[in-house]
């Protein structure tokens, strides 16, 4: 059966199973959008360089009911991030939250299904905040995820609490017997004066393919601090489209780092809406591509209110037949005076078949602002290379030293020590060279 037809069938099923709930109208609207807009093609400006339709030509098991499948705790061991013994671990199997495999260590953290959350004290927050990403992303994939939103998860961080253990999120697809289409949906609410660190990673078990269409919405309240790290190092046949939509509704600080190392087609939409004065956000990205991997980073910073500051730096190394796409947009709305927004994208091409398409974009409607963007595409510095070679350092070592140095700019923004070391190690493995 055609994947699109399957999706439609599953939608009807899920609607009749769940009956009507508070989220039904949101889902129905989204499904309506999906059927009219469809899967984005390369004619869509936002998808000009990324052909995602191929992913839908395969057959997928798309079966939210059979959960958590046959995944056991020991299956997860290779997936776990370092320091997990001291972390809250949230496990999603095939896009659905698996409480039995998850561990919650912090009392300031609440995890509920969205369906459940609409019934209790978080009712208003959920109804108000869920689906805000659709305001920015009007493509079929975001709508497709929203059509099944009720199966998602609500994560709440209590007011005034610092979550002492980082929150590790594992997105696991069990593709041991069939291709998997997973649609994780998360709404994270970080209350006033709260602080929390998230680290998310992706893994596919087995040799079949997986496609993950994820939407994460994060609402950051007054004086909250959020760090969000994403590490994408899945198998080379797995694709994902991940949307992270962050709303800074109070004066707050957000740091994100996205590291993309492997996959078939990896698309990251990162939207930051700065809706409160004096908000600050820093977002960094590192992509290091080999094989036929395509990584597409689309970021949007929407400065709605004055006195905000944002800093963006994405760096990439592209080898083999890899393709990197970067599209960064900075919007400065009419009232957002005194905005400082900076954006930079730097790329190194290592092979003849590597491609990079970059588009740093500014749209400015206010006059008292400081905005800049820049991008470069080039090679490793020949002089630096010669310097190292002339001191007897092998070609491979010199190359990996320089690439490593290029990546350090991003790595140093990963604050938790174990995560930073883990990413550093992944890069060393990729370079097939260890300095120790």
């Amino acid at each position: 059966m055609n994947t699109i037809d399957l999706i439609k069938e599953k939608y009807q099923q899920s609607q009749s199973n769940n009956g009507s709930s508070l989220l039904t109208s949101l889902e129905q609207d989204a499904f309506q959008t999906f059927t009219t807009v469809g899967i984005p093609t390369v004619k869509h400006e936002e998808w000009k360089y990324t052909r995602i339709s191929g992913v839908f030509n395969k057959e997928y098991a798309f079966n939210p009911e059979s959960l958590p499948g046959n995944v056991t705790a020991s299956d997860l061991d290779p997936v776990r991030l370092p320091g997990h013994a001291e972390a809250n671990e949230l496990v999603f199997i095939n896009g659905l939250y698996a409480p039995s495999l998850s561990t919650l260590r912090s009392s300031s953290l609440t995890v509920l299904s969205l369906e459940e959350a609409t019934k209790g004290e978080f009712r208003d927050t959920v109804l108000q905040q869920l689906g805000q990403s659709s305001r920015y992303i009007k493509d079929g994939l975001n709508a497709l995820n929203t059509a099944f939103a009720a199966e998602g998860v609500f994560i709440h961080v209590k007011k005034g609490k610092i979550v002492e253990h980082p929150v590790y999120i594992y997105q696991v697809s069990d593709a041991r017997s069939a291709n998997i289409l997973a649609q994780p949906r998360t709404l994270i609410h970080v209350s006033e004066n709260a602080q929390v660190i998230f680290a998310e990673t992706y893994a596919t078990l087995g040799l079949q393919e997986s496609f993950t269409n994820q939407v994460t919405e994060v609402v950051v309240e007054q004086a909250a601090v959020v760090e969000y790290y994403k590490i994408q190092n899945d198998t080379a046949v797995c694709s994902q489209v991940g949307t992270t939509h962050i709303r800074q509704v109070g004066k707050s600080l957000v740091n994100t780092v996205t590291v993309s190392l492997n996959g078939a087609v990896v698309r990251n939409n990162l939207n930051i809406a700065m809706e409160a004065e004096h908000s600050e956000s820093h977002f960094y990205g590192l992509y290091f591509l080999k094989g036929d991997t395509l990584v597409d980073n689309h970021t949007v910073v929407d400065n709605v209110k004055p006195h905000c500051e944002s800093n963006e730096l994405y760096k990439g190394v592209i080898d083999d037949n890899g393709t990197a796409i970067f599209n960064g947009k900075i919007f400065v709305q009419k009232d957002a005076q005194k905005t400082n927004a900076f954006q930079s994208n730097k790329n190194i091409l290592l092979s003849d078949n590597a491609t990079v398409n970059t588009k740093p974009q500014l749209e400015i409607f206010a006059d008292d602002v400081k905005c800049s963007h820049g991008c470069t595409v080039g090679q490793l510095d020949e002089e630096a290379f010669f310097y190292l070679r002339s001191r007897g350092i092998s070609e491979k070592a010199a190359k990996s030293l320089l690439v490593h140095a290029f990546a350090i700019d991003i790595l140093e923004h990963i604050k938790p020590e174990p995560i930073r070391q883990y990413v550093d190690q992944l890069i060393s493995e990729r370079l097939e060279f260890n300095f120790e």
Binding site: T355, P360, Q361, L362, A366
Partner: protein, 493 residues
């Protein structure tokens, strides 16, 4: 507020507002209508209109076929809407596609030219005889699409240079026209290029033979005249091996309430070691301060560096038009070829500009440089949209792009859409952009030294645009600076 009072006070903000108002009140200086009996095609567009134009111009059969082919393609195409522009739908059937000033015979000398026309040029400050005598610029003046007078033609002919109107070229040099026409901008390239191919009325044709350095700046002044006349110019410049030409295009148009459509096509071909420098000062009617009227300018300009070591350089100063949709591009096909783009785009009131360039690196060791300066004031929107493409075989390609925006006022917008595509690992591409306003500290610094705010703003804006202005030929630099002053003087917010 009088100017002496301005000097005595140092309240920057108040003065700024006052000066802004003055600027906004600046009426379009070149708005007037010359009364010439026009010989027009009936309104609307169909195959008959095209046959009418072709017959009127006594074109050969192949030309008519070419036009009809373009028209049939155009019918299948859709008007593009990807640009960052908002305008009411254009009714293509409500346009007169051909209008020529009536003249009984072709003039043999300047004296025989219709005095009304002569006056028009005088008002624009480009009196033909004066130019002929003093500046040494050969002017191919175009009023409503038909070339009226071409000066210095004989002098150029001695060196084998062909500089004439496109219709003459079709009659006298069909082999050259057939060879190069639509070789850079195919008729089906885009909606407006196809429309132009179908209905173009006239334009300029330049051919520089091998090894010839054109002794003077070639120049065409365009002018849109009769009411409801879309202007569809087509220019073709071919620089053969080792030649050099500098071509100037300057435009002013009379004031008009209805929107006028302008869809021009410019094609440049540079062979081995040839260089073409193409400069534009565009000051068409931008509409009044409420945003009514003004010219819709949808232009396709493209050059090809066909030979090795060839060079094409575009310089533009865009201050006019209600809508500007224009992307002068260079296809760097020959090895070691060079493409350059220097642009100043000024928008005020409700003007909208979406302009930029495309640099297609195909040959080896090709270089390109883009410098774009956008200045927006009033309620205007100014966008830079550019593409730098480094193809798979373009080893050693190098690009540097810089696009800066200056915002004068808090109701305007500045946008940047740079597309960068690199498919070769030896390519080095850099892009940088900034957006800022004129700093109060800068104004204060000038005020302190006895420079009034108005002059200070002119100074800063001129300094901002200087990098581009420096690339304009002498004759144009003066006019361009005046235009900048008229459009923006003192618009500090």
């Amino acid at each position: 507020m009088k100017s002496d009072e301005i000097q005595s006070e140092n309240i920057v903000v108040d003065e700024g507002l006052d000066i802004l108002e003055q600027t906004v009140r600046n009426e379009y200086k070149y708005g007037f209508v010359t009364d010439i009996e026009a010989d027009s095609a009936p309104k609307g567009l169909n195959e008959d209109t095209i046959r009418f134009i072709s017959a009127k111009k006594e074109e050969p059969e192949w030309m008519l076929e070419w036009r009809l082919k373009a028209f049939r393609q155009w019918l299948k195409m859709q008007e593009p809407h990807w640009a960052n522009l908002k305008y009411p739908a254009i009714d293509y059937q409500d346009i007169i596609y051909y209008s020529a000033p009536k003249q009984k015979e072709k003039p043999k000398s300047l004296d025989e030219i219709d005095p009304e026309l002569r006056k028009t040029f005088e008002k624009l400050g480009i009196s033909l005889d004066e130019q002929k005598r003093l500046t040494g610029v050969a002017v191919d003046a175009v009023i409503d699409s038909v070339s009226i007078a071409t000066t210095f033609k004989e002098q150029l002919a001695e060196q084998g240079i062909i500089f004439c109107s496109m219709s003459e070229a079709i009659q006298n040099h069909p082999e050259l026209v057939r060879q190069y026409l639509s070789s850079v901008v195919p008729v089906t390239d885009n909606y407006f290029a196809a429309l132009n191919a179908a209905v173009f009325s006239d334009g300029s044709f330049v051919y520089i033979p091998k090894g010839v350095r054109c002794p003077m700046e070639l120049s065409t002044y365009f002018r849109i005249n009769a009411e409801n006349t879309g202007q569809f110019e087509r220019t073709l410049i071919v620089a053969d091996e080792g030649s050099f030409v500098s071509y100037l295009e300057g435009c002013t148009a009379p004031m008009r309430d209805e929107n006028q459509l302008h869809a021009a096509v410019v094609e440049l071909v540079a062979m081995d070691n040839a260089e073409i420098k193409y400069s534009t000062v565009q000051n068409w009617y931008p509409g009044d301060k409420e945003g009514n009227g003004g010219i819709y300018n949808f232009v396709t300009k493209r050059g090809i560096c066909k030979g090795n070591h060839s060079k094409i350089s575009w310089t533009q100063v865009e201050t006019g038009s209600a809508i500007t949709w224009k992307y002068p591009s260079v296809i760097l096909k020959g090895d070691h070829s060079v493409g350059e783009f220097y642009s100043v785009a000024v928008t005020n009131n409700y003007q909208q500009a979406d302009t930029g360039t495309k640099m297609m690196h195909l040959g080896k060791n090709t270089r390109s440089r883009i410098v774009s300066k956008g200045i927006s004031a009033g309620f205007s929107q100014n966008s830079y949209r550019g593409l730098v493409h480094v193809g798979k075989n373009a080893t050693g390609a190098r690009n540097f792009s810089q696009c800066d925006s200056l915002l004068l006022g808090d109701k305007c917008g500045a946008h940047t859409f740079p597309y960068i595509e690199v498919k070769n690992k030896s390519g080095v591409v850099e892009h940088e952009a900034t957006t800022s306003k004129i700093g109060e500290d800068q104004i204060f610094y000038c005020n302190q030294r006895g420079i009034d705010t108005e002059t200070a703003v002119a100074l800063i804006v001129n300094g901002f645009a200087k990098e581009v202005m420096a690339h304009l030929p002498m004759e144009f630099a003066v006019e361009a600076q005046k235009l900048l002053a008229i459009s923006l003087e003192g618009s500090v917010g």
